[in-house]
Amino acid sequence: MSRANLYARRNRVKIKTSRFGELEVNQDDIIKFKDGILGFEQYKNFIVIDPSDSTLILWMQSLDNSQIAFPVIEPQIFKVDYCPVLMPNDMNALALENPADAKVYTILTIPSDFSQMSANLKAPIIVNSKKNNAKQVVLQDNKLVVKFEMYKDLKRAIANFSTSDDFKRTHIAPVKRFNPESESQFEEMEEIVINTSKENELD
């Protein structure tokens, strides 16, 4: 057996998954979540499985628990202008030096009525693709929601995808570094209190 083959063998590992059976994956593709995923902090090792089907939906599969796999998708597929702003804490936690090294996934909730399918744009998964560190980051932008209904947007994107030659994905940066020179993000929070929570009004 050639040296290249030997190396390749050593680098691969078998994993058990409840949805895809037993798979052989590359150790270099294993993504480490130091803090796990919100509500599932005990699961730190994941891998992205691409079933390569027409939905463009991927699966964030836990290596620690075969039953745990989150359907995810790259949000710029259905929302071209989605560009999470990362705080210094987030970038440090990911050891992310260059925003261009980030890869963004959003967790999907798919009910039996598909038209109600939603993506969590408020708390995307950000991966440092150079170091394979990842984190589910809660973004400060109060215009972003946990349940963004995107069935129509995804359907439109898939229709365009199959008819266009190049994919729009590369046109805007995956994430943006927070710029302290720009307006305070906290003002938006106060605005939203006044507009939406009338029953919480103190006056």
């Binding site: 919100l38 705080m87 210094p88 967790i107 969590n120 408020k122 809660v138 302290p180």
Partner: protein
């Protein structure tokens, strides 16, 4: 957990650069003012609860369950 009692107008300082002040008290509601560096993350706790709940719901999907979704997404009817 550290529990402190504050009167209207009194503050709590966290680290050297975060301050929480009781701005208004009315009945069961307390309005809090937070002074912190621009790059500090501040959220109502419900946001974290909502995210955990949504993560839990996301796990209910299976690839087989998405076969029909694939058909709908690629069909030509709106």
């Amino acid at each position: 957990m550290l529990v402190l009692t504050r009167k209207l107008g009194e503050s709590i300082a966290i680290d050297d650069d975060i301050k929480i002040v009781v701005v208004q008290i009315k009945g069961k509601q307390v309005r809090l003012g937070i002074k912190a560096p621009k790059d500090t993350k501040i959220h109502r706790e419900e946001v974290y609860m909502a995210i955990q709940e949504q993560n839990q719901k996301a796990l209910e999907s299976t690839p087989e369950g998405l076969n029909d979704l694939a058909k709908e997404l690629t069909s030509h009817k709106k």
